[in-house]
Every structure is written in structure tokens, then in C-alpha cells.
Symmetry: C2
DNA sequence: CTTGAAACTGACATTGATGTCAGATTCTAC
DNA sequence: GTAGAATCTGACATCAATGTCAGTTTCAAG
């Protein structure tokens, strides 16, 4: 009830299409209350959550992975994860590190090209 | 001719399926010499190049983008890129930065979870 | 030469995320 | 209560990357 918005507003505020928001819900990445008539209602936090989801999707992480990852990012005390889940987390961490590394390498190359040509490299990157 | 290998060897050494290697070539990401009979031949460098391609794909960068990005990473003196290409590079750089940032945030969260549970966080990440 | 392994091309299938459309229902403002 | 905007569900379409299969040709080793 707090800051309840419907799907249209969440869409414009998050940049994700309504279609995608429904898809995220279907995939268990996003939850919503329902009005008596069945319309979805979201709280303020949803905006940030959707933003996070989109970032991860854009970084090549699939919904299956995100679904298992997100709880780790929000809940403080995660019950003891099964040991094979822990293995999976480590593996996933590794893949992420490789992605980060490669993206950084590429970004540096880009910086060189940009800087060589009148480049103003927006400092936002940090 | 230097270290000429065919598609099978490049496949096993790079981890990409032959199908994908042909696809990369079709997309202009990878080149090959051809034997008189039409079989592809690659030099040693191809292994690293394919590895880079796969990393970028895995990080959510599409072939269109990679095609325009790779030359920047290999050639030292790039002729003056058109100004709109430069704009594009900057935009692309921004998207990368966001991906990197989000991946780092997520990795940190993962680290906390892992460390809290007997975690040995492989140092390889660096 | 011959033969079996590997590669070729080309087509069709699949998976994941998203777009789009249609018909029905709900919400909001008058 | 009625009209128009927004939402619902469900189906089909699309795009990118990859898998898979079939039929043919080339390569390497005996």
C-alpha cells in the first residue's frame, strides 16, 4: 500500500516494458500484489529491483541465474545454502570476474581510442 | 601457414563449437584462410581472438557491437573515426561501465554470502 | 587408390528475452 | 452508470546465438 503504483508507472520509471515486467514476474524475479480486480501493484522498491534485474540481464546473466542470485543480494541472513549451491555461487562468481575483466580491458581500449580523438571520456564510469 | 590449424582444433582449444566459429566468421568477427579445398585455416592468434569474442558475448555484447569494437582493440592507429562513431563509442563505453558496476556490486554480495559459509573465494578474480 | 575422419554448406530447430496483437476485464473521471 | 484509458491473459512473431542434421567433399594414412 505504501507507494503503490501499477504496471504502467513502473514501466516508465524503470524503463522496462510492461511485457518485460510481466515476464520478470513469471520468471520469479519480481513480485506484485494484486488489486481485487487482478491488476498488479508494486511498491517503491520495485523500481530499484527492476533496474538491478535489467542491469544483470544486460550483462549477460540469465533469468535462471538472477533468480537464484537476487535473494543473496537482499536478504542479510541467508540460511545455510546447500554445499552444491555454494559451489555454484563460486562458479558464478568466477564467470562474473571474467566478464568484469574482459569488459574492463575493452573499456580501456575504448578509452584510448576516444582519448586519441578529441575524447571527453565521461567520468561517470568509476 | 605459421601455426595453421583447422576448425576442429580451434574449437577444442577455444571452447567454441565449430558451428559458432563459422557463425563468428559470418558475422565478420573472425577471419580464416582457406585451403585449396575450402577448409578453414587459422593462425595461433585466432585462439585468443575467439576467447575475447566469447567473453564479450558472455558479457552481453552483441556481434554487431563486437564487430565494431574489435578493430579498436587490435589496431594501434585507427584512422579518424567519424564523429558519430565516436559518439557511439562513448555510449558503448557508458553501457559497459554500468555493466561492470552492476557485476561488481553483485560479486561483492556473492562474496559476502560465500565468505559467511566457509567461503574460499578463489583469488583468481583479480 | 581407397577409406574413415573431419570439414563444407545449407536448412531447420531451439532457447531467452522481448514485441505485438486480440479480446475481455477493470479502473477512473465524469 | 457510462466512456475511455489502462490492464489483464494468451497466443504468435522476432532476433540473436547456438544446436543439429543431411548430403557432399576434402584430407590424411594405409
Amino acid at each position: 500500500m505504501v507507494g503503490s503504483m501499477r504496471i504502467g508507472e513502473l514501466s516508465t520509471r524503470s524503463g522496462a516494458s510492461p511485457r518485460s515486467l510481466r515476464y520478470y514476474e513469471e520468471q520469479g524475479l519480481l513480485s506484485s500484489e494484486r488489486t481485487t480486480g487482478g491488476h498488479r501493484e508494486y511498491g517503491e522498491e520495485a523500481v530499484e529491483r527492476v533496474d538491478r534485474i535489467r542491469c544483470l540481464l544486460g550483462a549477460g546473466i540469465g533469468t535462471d541465474t538472477i533468480r537464484r542470485l537476487l535473494p543473496c543480494m537482499y536478504s542479510r541472513e541467508e540460511g545455510g545454502p546447500a554445499p552444491d549451491l555454494l559451489d555454484w555461487l563460486c562458479a558464478e562468481r568466477e564467470r562474473m570476474s571474467r566478464s568484469i575483466h574482459e569488459l574492463e580491458r575493452t573499456r580501456e581500449a575504448l578509452d584510448r581510442v576516444i582519448e586519441r580523438n578529441g575524447g571527453r571520456v565521461a567520468v561517470a564510469g568509476a
